[in-house]
């Protein structure tokens, strides 16, 4: 059980960071639209 929880947490953290990449991309693309 702990093994599954640990590996799921690891993958979820990485997915969160990948969403952060998309967020940064969105922040920068808004700047391009505004300019």
């Amino acid at each position: 059980m702990a093994l599954i929880a640990a590996i799921v947490l690891f993958i979820v953290l990485f997915l969160g960071l990948i969403i952060f990449i998309q967020f940064c991309d969105w922040v920068l693309s808004r700047r391009e639209i505004n300019s």
């Binding site: 702990a2 640990a6 940064c24 700047r31």
Partner: protein, 572 residues
């Protein structure tokens, strides 16, 4: 005299390595031929083809970051299974069981990010298979990935559109790390470091007892551990162990290996900017802080513990003399002495290596604060790639602040700095203290944090603060005295390690992508020049002020309070 020669050799060889490696890396990552090209080019092409990389078209920053993250994720998951199921895998003559799940989580987070924090003892927990294909493999992946991302970031800053994660990765591996690892392994073997698949040997001691001595493929791990600013030792005692750092020469080489690539990257950046002076301003600013930390730490260690000097009826002489090194030798190896130990400490915490050749827990309080402060700043040469990136991050904030002072649009390296870049830079800078101080505060208020402590009072606070600082800075060194193998510490330190590594890297790649898309602005009479001594001082000032504002209160409660208590005759 020995100390002066040691220090001058360090400066001279450090300068030489900066120039030689910087020139070499600039050629490699620009695709120019080097002496290794005839051998490595066919391998590079073959590996990229086998890996299924069809196109080497320039990538956007987000694609570059995504490839980096996915590659690290896959490597991490594979290592996770190797560690948890090592009992079913080969090269496990001692029949060691699989690693516990949360400890494996912590270990994978630690090694995939080049941190190498260890809540386990290597020689008693891991099989040779896990050491080689889990730990050493991840040490290579973590270091090479870090260098590749730094190269991608610098290409963005210097207007080089040719960036592709897998190409930069494979170049970092084949042209930089592979030769260093081979040469380093051979050198360490020549000095007596073991390189064998035997996991232990049994010896008879002088008293006639038998003793099991751990062995293994130490030399190969040691080379990447130092050159890749990884720091995770084969043995629990790390570079204090005579098989992992046998003599003063290996100690010196280990220190230089930690610093070589971070120093070379600064010079490479200057070459790419076509402004070598800019590189030297950064190098000089970092070296000034490095030597200041060394001076303070060494001075306090040489004075030693005043309580021992004032013992009633039995005062201990702690002065250096012909027959003793004097000072505080607790936790240090006699074969190194005080200055080489402190130099190792400043280098290993400055570069996010985390290897240790002396026990930081045994340093006098103010000397113990030095490695913490070094990791809190996290930019004094820094880990492979990430140190220079962090320093340039502060450079962006510094031009913004100075721009506000003189009422001009901030520019750096010929690019205008605007709101999105400042937002991302602020996020990366503010996250660092948040992920150190918040879990430290939670740990000191709850039994699950306090139960692991080996010492009470301010020293106990330092032990917890050090652990999270080490994790956030991706350093991996331990203060010792804290049992970090509990679910609370394994999980929270693992999360802090991941956030400390990736959030700032992603933000910096985004900034470089944003700057790359902007037109270059030619310097005019109103441009604030960043390659001057004055600007170097401003840059450093911003780093020190931000660091002081965020961390001084915690340091006052920890090492400073402990120092004052020690002067009052109380130890913890």
């Amino acid at each position: 005299m020995f100390d002066i020669v040691y220090l001058l050799s360090f400066l001279a060889i450090g300068f030489l390595l900066t120039v030689v490696l910087g020139d070499y890396m600039a050629k490699v990552f620009d695709g120019h031929p080097t002496w290794l090209t005839p051998i490595m080019r066919p391998i590079e092409t073959l590996v990229l083809r086998l890996a299924g990389v069809r196109s080497l078209e320039p990538q956007s920053w987000s694609r570059y970051a995504l490839d980096f993250m996915l590659f690290n994720l896959v490597c991490g998951v594979i290592t996770f299974f190797i560690l948890c199921f090592q009992q079913f895998l080969p090269l496990n003559p001692l029949k060691l069981p699989g690693m516990e799940a949360w400890q494996a989580f912590n270990t994978v987070c630690s090694f995939v990010t080049n941190t190498n924090w260890q809540s386990y003892g290597g020689e008693i927990s891991l099989s040779n298979f896990s050491q080689m294909l889990g730990i050493t493999f991840m040490q290579i992946v973590g270091a090479v990935s870090g260098l590749a991302v730094c190269v991608g970031f610098l290409k963005g800053l210097t207007h080089r559109p040719t960036r592709h994660f897998y190409q930069d990765f494979i170049k970092s591996l084949l042209y930089i790390f592979l030769p260093v690892m081979v040469a380093g392994s051979v050198f360490f073997m020549s000095q007596g470091v073991p390189q064998t698949l035997e996991q232990q040997t049994v010896l008879t001691t002088m008293e006639g007892q038998t003793q099991k001595v751990a062995l293994g493929p130490v030399a190969s791990l040691l080379a990447i551990k130092q050159a890749g600013t990884n720091g995770g030792g084969f043995f629990n005692a790390n570079s204090s162990h005579p098989f992992e750092n046998p003599n003063p020469l290996t100690n010196f080489v280990e220190i230089m290996m930690e610093l070589a690539i971070p120093m070379g990257l600064i010079h490479m950046f200057g070459i790419w900017l076509k402004d070598r002076k800019q590189g030297w301003v950064i190098w000089g600013a970092m070296m000034a802080v490095f030597l200041s930390f060394l001076w303070v730490g060494n001075a306090f260690e040489q004075v030693g513990n005043p309580i021992l000097s004032n013992l009633p009826g039995l005062p201990i002489n702690q002065h250096a003399g012909a027959f003793q090194s004097g000072g505080n030798m607790e936790g240090k190896e006699v074969r190194f002495g005080i200055l080489p130990s402190m130099l190792f400490t400043v280098a290993t915490t400055g570069t996010s290596t985390g290897a240790v050749n002396n026990m930081h827990d045994s340093l006098t309080p103010i000397a113990g604060m030095i490695p913490m402060a070094n990791m809190m700043l996290n930019v004094i040469f820094g880990g492979v790639g990430v140190g220079l990136m962090g320093f340039l991050l502060y450079g962006i904030v510094a031009v913004f602040l100075t721009g506000l002072m003189v009422g001009r649009t901030p520019e750096i390296f010929g690019k205008k700095i605007e709101k999105p870049e400042i937002m991302l830079a602020s996020l990366a800078i503010l996250l660092h203290p948040l992920i150190i101080l918040a879990p430290t505060a939670i740990a000191v208020m709850n039994h699950f944090g306090l139960d692991s402590l080996g010492n009470a009072g301010p020293h106990g606070l330092s032990e917890i603060l050090y652990a999270y600082t080490s994790a956030a800075a991706n350093n991996g060194s331990a203060f010792a005295g804290l049992n970090a193998n509990t679910p609370w510490y394994n999980i929270t330190i693992g999360i802090v390690i991941l956030l400390g590594r990736y959030v700032s890297m992603i933000a910096l790649l985004a900034i470089s992508g944003s700057l790359l898309a902007k037109p270059k602005v030619e310097p005019g009479p109103g441009t604030l020049r960043t390659n001057t001594l004055l600007y170097g001082i401003v840059w450093l000032g911003v780093i020190l002020v931000v660091g002081a504002l965020t961390f001084v209160p915690a340091l006052v409660l920890g090492p400073v309070a402990e120092h004052l208590a020690m002067l009052g005759g109380k130890l913890f």
